[in-house]
């Protein structure tokens, strides 16, 4: 009995130590012979309804592909910390899906995928060049575009009609936006004319760059922040403050829910806003965000496939096969990329998908793709500025909060933003 007990305790002790061990067989996969029959790991953070579609697509690839390649996908809401801890431990997925801005944060852990056009049947000329530029750092391509995220204007046609405005004509300028917001607001019905959130840095950034241009630009090889003295940003902040004080814009973090509840006359957001509006049965129009004093722009964020340094050559080739499949037309004339665009409402990044009849017939997508193709696509900073996330997570929220809650005047908020942005810029100018 004592012997059995001792052995049992030893087993428990050994098991508890083994549970803390790290190896999960990745070494075996790295040493596998060819791309055929290879299993690759694929991480992303698509936890919403689009994630369900991604799961279906990946399952379809796993069943259909003739090379016996298996894509083992892991979707996590905690993608950032999962990725950072994996990289820090010398691990990581074969392939990941993320913003192309991650090339600045995780550049040391991403492989150059410029050869994807040589090793697959993908045609580089079919990809919209500005989006490929977004995925590159110098001559190296780190992401293959998967999804283009632009922000668009949505307006509630029923509220427009009730306010005596033409439901098919959205504001063409920001002066009109502000003026019409006043007409649309109805306090008795909890309706606000404008839906700009103080807590939505991406929305604020897309709008404010129409007013004052990019927050960080390349000034003869040195990065330069452009907050203080920026007349356009000043105009935007004054407009926002005026609308909030007058009650035409709610001081609210979550304006998307309000738009779905039919309480917002006009708002700006990504393509995902349509899901809530469609589900709620809101009668809405979709258009491009009004341009401003900074000139025409088509600011976007590019989400793309990246291959990490954890991938072996065989795994990289297997991942290329998946990316090729994603962008290749099947016998029905469709492709996963086209289906993704049509279902989720994200504009295409290839000319061949944009030319498809189903794409052109889709009202939402045709509006989203109607931006001037020559217009700059930089989003809030120069597309090569590595500190874009710091500007989005620190500088812009502090600035808009200070104005929204009356902590500071617009000038003071811009000065503070300049000072914060200068510190960030300084790090990258060293």
């Amino acid at each position: 009995m004592k012997r059995i007990t001792a052995v049992g305790l030893s087993v428990i002790l050994a098991a508890s130590l083994a549970a803390c061990g790290g190896s999960d067989g990745k070494e075996d996969t790295k040493e596998s012979g060819k791309a055929k029959g290879t299993t690759i790991t694929f991480w992303n953070s698509f936890t919403g309804a689009d994630g369900d579609m991604l799961v279906e697509m990946v399952d379809k690839f796993n069943k259909e592909n003739k090379d016996g390649i298996t894509v083992d996908m892991d979707i996590s809401a905690d993608f950032d910390s999962q990725l950072s801890t994996a990289f820090a431990a010398g691990e990581g997925p074969t392939m990941m899906l993320s913003s192309s801005a991650y090339r600045f944060t995780y550049g040391d852990y991403l492989q150059d995928v410029s050869d994807v056009f040589d090793k697959t049947d993908l045609d580089k000329a079919d990809f919209i060049q500005s989006y490929l530029d977004y995925c590159s750092d110098g001559d190296s391509l780190y992401f293959v575009p998967f999804q283009i995220v632009g922000y668009y204007m949505y307006w509630n046609k029923d509220l427009f009609e009730a306010a005596g405005l033409d439901p098919d004509t959205p504001p063409a300028t920001w002066n009109e936006w502000q003026e019409w917001a006043g007409k649309l607001t109805d306090e008795s019905k909890n309706v606000y004319g404008s839906g700009i959130s103080y807590d939505y840095a991406y929305q604020i950034a897309h709008i404010m760059q129409r007013f004052g241009g990019l927050a960080v630009t390349d000034d003869n090889g040195k990065w330069k922040a452009n907050f203080a003295g920026n007349a356009g940003y000043e105009k935007f902040l004054n407009m926002y403050k005026a609308m909030a004080d007058k009650g035409d814009n709610p001081v609210e973090a979550d304006t998307d829910s309000m738009a779905s509840a039919g309480q917002i006359g006009m708002t700006a957001g990504g393509p995902w806003v349509t899901a809530g509006l469609d589900t709620a049965g809101v009668n809405y129009g979709i258009g491009l965000i009004p341009q401003g004093d900074a000139g025409d722009m088509n600011s976007v964020e590019v989400i793309g496939f990246a291959i990490t340094t954890a991938a072996s050559d065989e795994e990289k080739e297997a991942a290329y096969k998946f990316i090729e499949w994603w962008n290749t037309e099947n016998d029905d004339g469709s492709s996963p990329a086209l289906e993704w665009s049509l279902t989720n409402g994200f504009p295409a990044y290839t000319y061949s998908v944009q030319d498809k009849d189903e794409y052109k017939e889709n009202e939402k997508l045709s509006v989203m793709s109607s931006a001037d193709p020559e217009a700059p696509t930089d989003f809030i900073t120069d597309s090569n500025f590595p500190g874009i996330n710091a500007v989005l997570t620190d500088v812009i929220p502090e600035m808009i909060n200070a104005v929204a809650f009356g902590n500071a005047s617009v000038d003071a908020a811009l000065e503070k933003a300049q000072s914060s942005a200068d510190k960030i810029v300084e790090d990258y100018n060293k």
Partner: protein, 294 residues
């Protein structure tokens, strides 16, 4: 082998064998990371931790000049000052009312405990929707009753109280249940004797129940204090530190510095060390006080 077996076979030594797995896990997942965090705090380290530049005390100096960090300490102090007394004392009073084992009390204990077993994410999303300034159920109900429009989640100065309420609501049940267990351990003969001496319920509670469950009281006080100083999940889901950073707790800010794309692990570690020292200091003071009372 026989000697080893004989050595570990003694009761006093075999106890170590039983606790060894827990101790190993504690060392691997608590002690070692803690020591590493101390070390990291003296370096400039990005999120990927592939480079580390020794910068001495710079991270600590920066922390004490960082208005957002100082604000987060203030927010955490306010939150702790609200949550802990209400939770500790409120749950004690409620526990006293539901300590008897009858159907009603058993039902109430289950009701109070339900939020404890729910995920913080679900609770946060639920309250965020219920208290939404324009489409929230409670907001709409209050408006229809003529109580005006209250922007619970977007009013600096008010939202911290709302977040404290949500946190109290969520973990109130566990404190109450622990108290109920402790109260039920108090010998009924003490209450009988007090009743014979003419002591009412309130006097019995103050002079018998409270002194008898003092160790439990201290346990709940210390754990709630430590928990409140580390509040993160409810804030992350409901307000993410807004409006205007008036609900940004220290851990929320540390998380944003550690795991955003603008990550600075070294700086986040330094702030964690400061928080650790504060929690340790308070815990040691409480422990010292508790021992003195005993």
């Amino acid at each position: 082998m026989e000697r080893v077996r004989k050595y570990w076979n003694k009761p006093s030594r075999s106890a170590y064998v039983f606790v060894a797995p827990s101790i190993i896990l504690l060392i691997l997942f608590s002690v070692i990371p803690l020591i590493m965090a101390f070390g990291l705090s003296f370096f400039d380290v990005p999120i990927t931790m592939n480079t580390a530049k020794f910068i001495g005390w710079d991270n600590f100096v920066e922390a004490f000049h960082d208005s957002r960090f100082l604000n987060s300490l203030k927010v955490t102090a306010i939150f702790t000052g609200l949550e802990v007394p209400i939770q500790v004392l409120g749950s004690l009073i409620v526990a006293a009312l539901i300590s008897k084992n009858n159907k009603r009390n058993k039902f109430l204990r289950a009701v109070y405990f339900l939020p404890v077993i729910c995920s913080a994410t679900v609770i946060g999303i639920m309250w965020r929707m219920i208290l939404h300034s324009n489409i929230g159920f409670i907001t709409a109900a209050m408006q229809s009753m003529g109580l005006g429009k209250i922007n619970f989640m977007n009013t600096p100065g008010l939202t911290i109280y709302v977040v404290s309420f949500i946190s109290i609501w969520r973990s109130f049940g566990i404190s109450a249940i622990i108290y109920v267990t402790a109260i039920q351990q108090v010998s009924p003969s003490l209450f009988e004797a007090a009743e014979m001496d003419g002591a009412g319920k309130i006097r019995q509670f103050i002079h018998i129940t409270v002194p008898s469950i003092r160790p439990t009281f201290w346990y709940i006080l210390m754990t709630r204090f430590a928990g409140a100083l580390q509040i993160f999940d409810i804030i992350y889901v409901t307000t993410n530190g807004g409006p205007n950073y008036t609900t940004e707790s220290t851990v929320s800010y540390i998380y944003s510095r550690a795991f955003s794309s603008n990550s600075s692990m070294g700086y986040a570690s330094a702030m964690s060390v400061v928080l650790f020292i504060i929690i340790m200091f308070i815990t040691v003071l409480m422990y010292h006080r508790m021992n003195k009372e005993e």
